[in-house]
């Protein structure tokens, strides 16, 4: 074996060792800062973890684009959902007066909020895009309470790391990390294009997370649970049968 190829082997060996230890250190650091997504197991775990870490390092505070009034879509598309049951129809026939958003978990003051109470809180109105993982998009004006306001109101404990949100449709539950939950554009929305949020678009209450794809924006939400661990929810993947348990990534900022 000549000198050049021996040098190549040594260099390659060193590079491989450096890469492996770099990955190990990165993994440790990611774990320490809570940057391991709940669906990090399995063969797609490395890519998913890299995406989540990169996004949290680069885009923790960036804002989703906001648009002008003239860019609002005339033809928004309400993605069909599973049939809404009798319980929902009872709420609907009562104009959602009895609809409650329960807030529980790692908070000082568990609470129930009616839609009217939520409307009395400081509101945020923003014209943003919603994009489906399938590729289609529309732009609308959403109005709602910043989730951060609700989290402050109920006295969220410092060790909280995730917000789990549940829908009247038991299969449609999901969760976000605190970076997303405290982001100023993350809303519990009740209005769209100047009117009450229409039922096909998730009314009376819909999570509106413009920095993540449509499927994270769960419709008909009834309950927020603040937690430090997603393992205890469903299969521990961070979202239900319409998300990670159906093979979809938990982090949907891409």
């Amino acid at each position: 074996m000549n000198k050049l190829s021996r040098r190549q082997i040594i260099t390659t060996g060193l590079a491989a060792t450096a890469a492996a230890s770099g990955l190990a250190v990165a993994g440790k650091l990611a774990g320490r800062y809570g940057l391991i997504p709940p669906d990090s197991g399995g063969i797609y775990g490395p890519g998913e973890t890299l995406t989540y870490v990169a996004q949290r390092v680069l885009t923790r505070h960036t804002l989703a684009r906001e648009f002008s009034q003239s860019q609002i879509s005339n033809d928004p598309f309400a993605n069909p959902v599973d049939p809404l049951g009798e319980e929902f129809q009872r709420f609907q026939s009562g104009a959602f007066v009895d609809w409650r958003l329960a807030v529980d978990g790692m908070i000082a003051r568990p609470a129930f909020f009616s839609v009217a109470e939520l409307k009395s809180f400081p509101a945020r109105t923003q014209i943003t895009m919603i994009g489906c993982e399938e590729g289609w998009t529309y732009i609308a004006e959403w109005t709602g309470v910043p989730l951060s306001h609700i989290l402050e109101l109920v006295g969220t404990l410092p060790q909280a790391r995730y917000v789990v949100y549940r829908s009247i449709q038991p299969e449609a539950w999901d969760s976000i990390d605190m970076a997303e939950a405290l982001h100023p554009q993350t809303l519990v929305s009740y209005g769209m294009n100047g009117v009450d949020l229409p039922v096909p678009f998730g009314g009376p209450l819909r999570m509106r997370i413009p920095r993540q794809l449509g499927y994270k924006n769960v419709k008909y939400i009834t309950r927020l649970t603040i937690t430090d661990n997603l393992k205890q929810f469903g299969k521990g993947l961070g979202s239900g049968e319409l998300g990670a348990e159906d093979g979809y990534a938990w982090y949907a900022g891409i």
Binding site: Y44, T51, T59, A64, Q71, D75, E134, W136, Y248
Partner: protein, 258 residues
């Protein structure tokens, strides 16, 4: 450089006993780095292609501007069935949803191709690979020389044996376009579709979110055409030799018979 070691004469002049020692002293046709990054790119590109097609099947409609959905008139549609019942395709059936794993694998492969690409570009600049192997000689860029090269290609002429050691001018230009135009543009348009990333990698200059998606699709088409032509050229130039050159780095076998 390439004349220092003529693979064929080494092979035919030596007995088997000395052959192995002599071939080891020959510079490989492609450096180890180029070979490893080439095959990593092949694997991740194919996986991006398959998963990308799966994702398109869930919405085989394309638009221009910021927004587009089934209520919007598309720029064009691909006449295939869809994996979503909400998309009007004219087919009476809906394909199974494959987007979950397709999206996971698409982004995992994107990480591999982007990482490999960054290393390759760094190596290409600092290791002299671009200057030595990809930058066309000024004399080769004259209309006359370019015309000759194009004519050679159009006649599907088998390249001369000395071309086994170097890229011709059209090859160099094509590789440069793929490396410095197609790949950056497809990565940019991909990132411009990310709702969390779009404020850092704006789609606005491309015409909007849907425009980025459409450009991403056309870039894929361009790269697929490149891939097909590339493989065709490899077959014309001698499939086994060129594959060996890209796998083991050696070009010491006699030319294949056509």
């Amino acid at each position: 450089m390439r004349l220092e070691f003529d693979g064929y004469s080494v092979h035919s002049a030596c007995t088997i006993g000395t052959l192995s020692r002599m071939t080891e002293t020959i510079r490989p046709r492609h450096s180890l780095f180029v070979r490893v990054t080439h095959w990593l790119t092949v694997l991740s590109f194919l996986s991006l292609l398959v998963t990308g097609v799966e994702i398109i099947i869930s919405h085989p409609r394309f638009y221009w501007g910021e927004t587009g959905n089934v209520n919007t008139r598309p720029l064009f549609t691909i006449p295939i069935p869809s994996s979503r019942s909400s998309v009007p395709t004219g087919y009476g059936y809906v394909l199974p949803d494959q987007n979950g794993w397709s999206r996971y694998l698409h982004f995992q492969s994107a990480w591999i191709v982007a990482g490999t690409g960054l290393l390759y570009v760094a190596f290409g600049f600092f290791g002299g690979h671009f200057r030595r192997n990809l930058l066309p000689a000024r004399s080769d860029l004259s209309p006359k020389r370019l015309g000759i090269s194009i004519a050679h290609h159009l006649r599907f002429e088998r390249p001369s044996s000395e071309e086994a050691w170097s890229y011709n001018v059209l090859q160099r230009l094509t590789y440069l376009v793929v490396i410095f135009l197609c790949f950056p543009l497809i990565i940019w348009t991909g990132l411009a579709m990310s709702p969390a990333f779009e404020s850092l990698v704006p789609a606005t200059v491309l015409g909007g979110h849907q425009s980025a998606r459409t450009i991403h699709f056309f870039m894929t088409g361009f790269l697929v055409v490149f891939l097909l032509l590339h493989v065709l050229m490899v077959v014309l130039a001698g499939f086994r030799n060129r594959m060996r050159a890209m796998i083991s780095g050696r070009v010491t076998e006699p030319q294949e018979r056509v």
